[in-house]
């Protein structure tokens, strides 16, 4: 009796399991279909009209759309701008957050708590909400329509500082003491004792910073005007409004994939790193 009971249960459990797997797979395929469809259409000949099913079962595949999109808008320049902005932000952030985190983790000084909470204000008031007054500041600084206009509000990162401080606090005390006994300067202490075990946190922060700023739209829209500084995302939004684009989806999807492509490919290649980074930072 017991055996038959167990047998029935596993039979039911198996059916449930198969059903749940079916739901999961169907759901996943529908989620993926959206982008796969867009990718396929970007390789369909531009001149062909689209009707139901034409995307999946079109005539042939071509790279024309990518060439056309590239020639219709200065995507090359947009690439340079996006890469420059992302690199500038990251380079400055790495320095500012490491130094600040080191100060908060290693030293004790009057006003420490107050200053710590002062910096954390940045987490409570997202920069996006402050675009109007920050635009005024950028104007006054004479940075309008430059890479630095897009980058400078992010030069200090409360979040990165917080993350690195957590990492530094986990460095074993004995190691720090040993460094001090050896007469390390603060710089050597940071460089050789605190940094090595904290690199994973720094990498996690770097990945989330790069993907956040690669994808950012509203702030660059506000502070850029020409292709001198306009990044890919803003370029794409403009591209959708070009009169000649209309409903030429083949072209538009090619442009879209040009914009999303590099980061997406990096994500596919380093999936584990990215996912760990997103989990670690919870930013984005």
């Amino acid at each position: 009796m017991v055996i038959s009971h167990v047998g029935r249960r596993t039979w039911r459990a198996r059916l449930t399991s198969a059903l749940l797997s079916g739901i999961t797979i169907a759901w996943a395929l529908s989620w993926a279909a959206i982008v796969v469809w867009a990718i396929v259409v970007s390789f369909r000949p531009e001149a062909e009209p689209l009707g139901r099913g034409d995307v999946w079962f079109g005539s042939r595949l071509t790279l024309e759309n990518y060439q056309r999109a590239w020639s219709l808008a200065p995507f090359g320049r947009y690439y340079i701008n996006t890469i420059a902005i992302v690199v500038i932000i990251l380079a400055v952030q790495v320095v500012t957050i490491t130094l600040a985190a080191f100060a908060f983790a290693h030293y004790r000084f009057p006003g420490q708590r107050v200053l710590f909470f002062f910096i954390l204000l940045q987490l409570m008031i997202p920069t996006a909400a402050l675009l109007a007054p920050n635009f005024a500041t950028i104007r006054r600084l004479g940075l309008f329509d430059t890479w630095f206009a897009v980058a400078i509000p992010y030069f200090g990162s409360a979040f990165g500082m917080f993350l690195m401080r957590q990492a530094f606090l986990e460095v074993p005390r004995d190691l720090v003491d040993a460094g001090l006994m050896d007469g390390c300067t603060w710089w050597q202490l940071l460089r050789h004792v605190y940094m090595p075990p904290s690199y994973p946190s720094l990498v996690a922060f770097a990945i989330s910073s790069v993907s956040w700023h690669w994808n950012e739209f509203l702030w660059p829209l506000v502070v850029t005007l020409t292709e001198r500084s306009r990044p890919l995302t803003v370029g794409l939004a403009r591209f959708t409004q070009l009169g000649e684009i209309g409903a030429r989806w083949q072209l538009l999807m090619a442009a879209t994939l040009l914009v999303a492509g590099p980061l997406f490919i990096a994500f596919l290649l380093f999936q584990r790193r990215f996912i760990q980074s997103f989990l670690h930072t919870g930013l984005k």
């Binding site: 600040a100 997202p126 914009v259 989990l279």
Partner: protein
């Protein structure tokens, strides 16, 4: 704080080390907040000659806003958007995590299928959805028709569906992100508790309600904080898909703030809107912070 032993005799260095961060926070978080509060008390419209120079008008900008029909629509839209997208994408994320947290072949691939929208820029997501939502041969309408839908097809141009369509896009993009946190949470749950519960004859539902949910409460709180903040500050898809329209049907608070400042050139009103947005965001983050603090006390984390 910690590491208290390394007190320097003249502690100048730590101040120098944090100076850059403090400077940028002061310049791009604290100063603009103060500036917004100040400017919100003035009338200044850059596209009208006689209002070009700021004039002090007290709280008039706020009074005007609260009697403004567009503002009311925008607040309602924002509430619908936030209260619609946040719980639904969190719930979907949770269900997805439960579905993936089983023995299933090709787990990595399915997880990727749910998570990948999050790595795409919201602008690209929006153009892809613009295509996906195309009337007639668009995949979305084709699929809906297959399922028996006979309603209007031009989603982004329909006053009743425009807001819904940008909400769907946001849910599609975010559910997989929240799934990731729940998946990590589920994998860290203590298995012995569940084994004991199963031995005691607790059903799947009972385990879910009385064990999984409470144990993942911190994860949920964390996710809801980031979800709320991101719901208020993500407007990229509105720019591409609806431009806030038709009329103001899909205009949310931050999008309207952008319009008021950069299209209507109304500095005073934009400043008042900035202050309102800050207050709303602070209310959310502080509430969540207090909730999580209290929880930590109770559970002794």
């Amino acid at each position: 704080m910690s590491r208290s032993t390394f007190r320097q005799r003249v502690p100048v260095l730590p101040y120098l080390l944090i100076a850059p961060t403090v400077f940028f926070v002061a310049l791009f978080t604290v100063w603009p907040t103060a500036l917004a509060i100040y400017q919100s008390l003035f009338r200044q419209r850059l596209n009208i000659a006689k209002y070009r120079e700021p004039t002090f008008i007290g709280l008039q900008n706020y009074v005007d806003l609260f009697t403004n029909d567009d503002f009311r629509t925008v607040i309602v839209n924002t509430a619908i958007y936030v209260l619609g997208t946040v719980p639904i994408s969190i719930l979907l994320g949770f269900i997805l995590a439960l579905l993936l947290n089983r023995q299933i072949r090709g787990l990595g691939l399915w997880r990727l299928a749910f998570f990948y929208p999050n790595v795409l820029p919201m602008v690209s997501v929006a153009t892809i959805w613009m295509f996906f939502l195309t009337p007639d041969y668009g995949l979305f309408n084709t699929a809906l028709q297959f399922l028996g839908y006979r309603g209007p097809q031009n989603w982004t141009a329909n006053p009743d569906l425009a807001l819904l369509s940008i909400m769907i896009v946001a849910i599609w993009k975010n559910a997989g992100y929240y799934m990731l946190f729940y998946l990590a949470g589920l994998q860290n749950l203590p298995t012995d508790v569940f084994e004991a519960a199963a031995l005691d004859g607790a059903s799947w539902w009972q385990q879910l309600w009385h064990l999984t949910f409470p144990l993942l409460r911190r994860t949920t709180l964390f996710i809801s904080t980031i979800a709320f903040i991101s719901a208020f500050q993500t407007v990229d898809h509105i720019f591409v898909l609806t431009q806030g329209g038709p009329s103001t049907a899909s205009t949310t608070l931050l999008y309207w703030l952008w319009q008021v400042r950069f299209e209507y050139q109304d500095v005073g009103r934009a400043a008042a809107l900035t202050v309102i947005l800050i207050v709303v965001l602070l209310a959310f983050t502080v509430t969540n912070f207090l909730l999580s603090e209290r929880q930590e006390d109770r559970y002794g984390y």
